[in-house]
Symmetry: C2
Subunit: 389 residues, 2 copies
């Protein structure tokens, strides 16, 4: 019987352009903040998971487990890097969860980190493309935004939807980020701003894309055995954690709009948590591009296929709406330091469930769900969090 696992600490750096700090600095800052928040000694942490995608390509640095352990003053701890493209953070959290659930570790930490602004934009573009099939897709000259543009165009054509209705997802995210001190862009953007921003890959506009940024977020998890030895007034449980893959390359999928991996992983995570989609109070979706946010709302069952955009138009994604989504700004405006994103999403949910979300608070939020995507949804990680006291 797997042990129950809880989030007892959470910390993060602001997302942004951190010219004064390196990847290790960001990781250590977030990690120590989470350990401090947990009220434990760092020597209590038995295993350390680092979620990161591009440190090899952008920093010439692998072996982040031992690196971060050394720089955080945690030498000796079991340490690992976990990679699953843009879902690296979520994937690392899943491993941390399994470690604590197994009972072979009682207290573990996970930090998701990416440092993207030290590199040339062309190098970042290349590094992001390592998420796709190098031999059969990247070789053709495809870019990551280009591949998402194909999915976007297919959606607009198949359902006769106007681009403005999809693009409005970015307007929502910018509005939500205003009150988030950790967000990269704490400013609103109008629909006109979005639609008049430069065209990156038809139809995707600049302001429909998550930005490049630096940041790290961390969580401390423990199982029920560790909890007995420590007290926490407010407690959030990892009620469900599941991962699924889809066919790696979008052009080989039967239905590129179906998000089969999201359906599968969400079903498994919700089943484990004993909840249904309607029970979710706060949702974090992986809106690397606006279209991915809309498709996720449909894949998770919050809207029929082709109708996800209506939730945005009707304000249902805001606190008080039907399904409050990306209440801290999402990838679009909170930011998307790639390997960090999966952890930032859970960090954002934990703040909501603890009632620490300030002006963005969803009243009485008890259950949150985070969806983290790798590649064009080739890997999907779903976490269900529940406040248990």
């Amino acid at each position: 019987m797997a042990k129950r696992v809880f989030v007892i600490g959470a910390g993060a750096t602001k997302v942004g352009e951190h010219w004064d700090r390196s990847l290790r600095d960001l990781a250590v800052e977030a990690l120590l903040a989470a350990i401090k928040d947990a009220g434990i000694d760092k020597r209590d942490v038995e295993a350390l998971y680092v979620g990161n995608m591009m440190s090899g390509e952008l920093q010439g640095q692998e072996h982040l487990g031992a690196l971060v352990a050394t720089w955080a003053g945690m030498v000796g701890v079991a340490a690992f890097k976990v990679e699953a493209a843009c879902a690296s953070g979520g994937a690392a959290l899943h491993q941390a969860y399994l470690a604590a659930a197994s009972g072979l570790y009682d207290c573990v930490a996970v930090v998701g980190v990416e440092k993207m602004t030290d590199a040339l934009p062309s190098d970042v573009t290349s590094a992001l493309l390592t998420a796709e099939d190098q031999e059969y897709v990247v070789f053709t000259g495809a870019t990551f935004v280009g591949l998402n543009a194909l999915v976007y165009r297919m959606y607009l054509t198949k359902y006769g939807v106007k681009q403005e209705d999809v693009a409005r997802f970015a307007v929502h995210c910018h509005k939500m980020a205003v009150n988030n001190p950790y967000a990269q862009f704490r400013r609103e953007a109008t629909l006109e701003d979005v639609m008049s921003s430069p065209l990156i890959a038809d139809p995707i506009r600049l302001l429909e894309c998550a930005p490049v940024g630096d940041g790290a977020a961390a969580l401390v998890l423990c199982n029920e055995d560790f909890l007995r030895r420590n007290s926490h007034d407010v407690l959030v449980e990892v009620a469900g954690s599941a991962v699924a893959t889809d066919v790696l390359s979008v052009h080989e999928r039967k239905d590129p709009l179906a998000m089969a991996g999201s359906r599968k992983a969400a079903e498994a995570a919700m089943k484990r948590a004993g909840i249904e989609a309607k029970d979710v109070d706060v949702l974090e979706v992986h809106d690397a591009f606006t279209i991915l946010g809309i498709l996720t709302l449909e894949a998770l069952g919050y809207a029929p296929p082709g109708k996800g955009w209506q939730l945005v138009a009707e304000g249902e994604l805001e606190p008080g709406g039907k399904i409050p989504t990306n209440t801290m700004g999402g990838l679009k405006a909170r930011g998307h330091p790639v390997g960090g994103t999966g952890i930032y999403q859970v960090f954002d949910i934990v703040r909501q469930l603890r009632g620490e979300a300030g002006p963005s608070q969803v009243e009485g939020a008890e259950i949150g769900l985070a969806q983290n995507l790798g590649g064009v949804a080739g890997t999907v990680v779903i976490h269900v969090l529940r406040r248990v006291r």
Copy 2:
């Protein structure tokens, strides 16, 4: 209570220069061989772990979890890449073990893979250096072999040992590889061959270094719940699995010869398995350089500090000796496709425990221990395997 975990399938490619196959081809070949060996359907596998260090740098390819899942025809499976430098294979196996031990997955697969020969030697050297601290060590111009040379020189000086006595470890490995059909170098090398081979970084000679090569090895693990539904005549248990870090950079360690991580991880893994070092029938050590093999023998307690080389000189590492070690050739001669190595080590031990080791068979072998190192022993992974029927 963590569930017991067993190795029910093992497969590998020969290590070598596979010009006709790409990284994914090697991974899929080994993975499907392991699944076939397990006698299960690939749809039984619920999670897939890929151990790999350098695919981002050398192939421009990350997201190996979804890539291998797709190409192996296992779309849907939860899939991850785990990285811990040269210990990536062992680290991935540790995660696979935790997954099955947790009971949240009943049957999982792990494949370790590296494709090194498609790249320029200078690029391979750079990629290997991502294991070390980029900002404080690599920046000075240090190379990986150079760092190990410092440790080697320190050992020779401190204990007054002759280089020939350390270098003889390579002679042993070459002798062992002759009977291993999976080995990269199935030929003997004399001590004169080793000592007259080119000097790479004083005092390390070419034939004291593990070679560059391509290869993949895979294992299928299951827990006791899955086992009840399947029968296996011969069965090997993962009796212990532990990971420890040391200070990342060797120059910052109190005692660079102590291998503190190896001691810590071995102690934890053996404790869990309920054994002592003397109970081990077959040993696999991470001899990326001869000196690492010798230091490991000392760290694990098979010889006092400064005396590990005597075991080689006295033939105690051969089948029938005190502690049969690297009986399939070790990194030196079986080969060292980096991310694959940690899995090859366990693959080699499994063959011994099953009695499938041919002329290299250690009679009556029941317990094996594998030690996989990342960087200059910055990460250490120890697995204890036991034949249970």
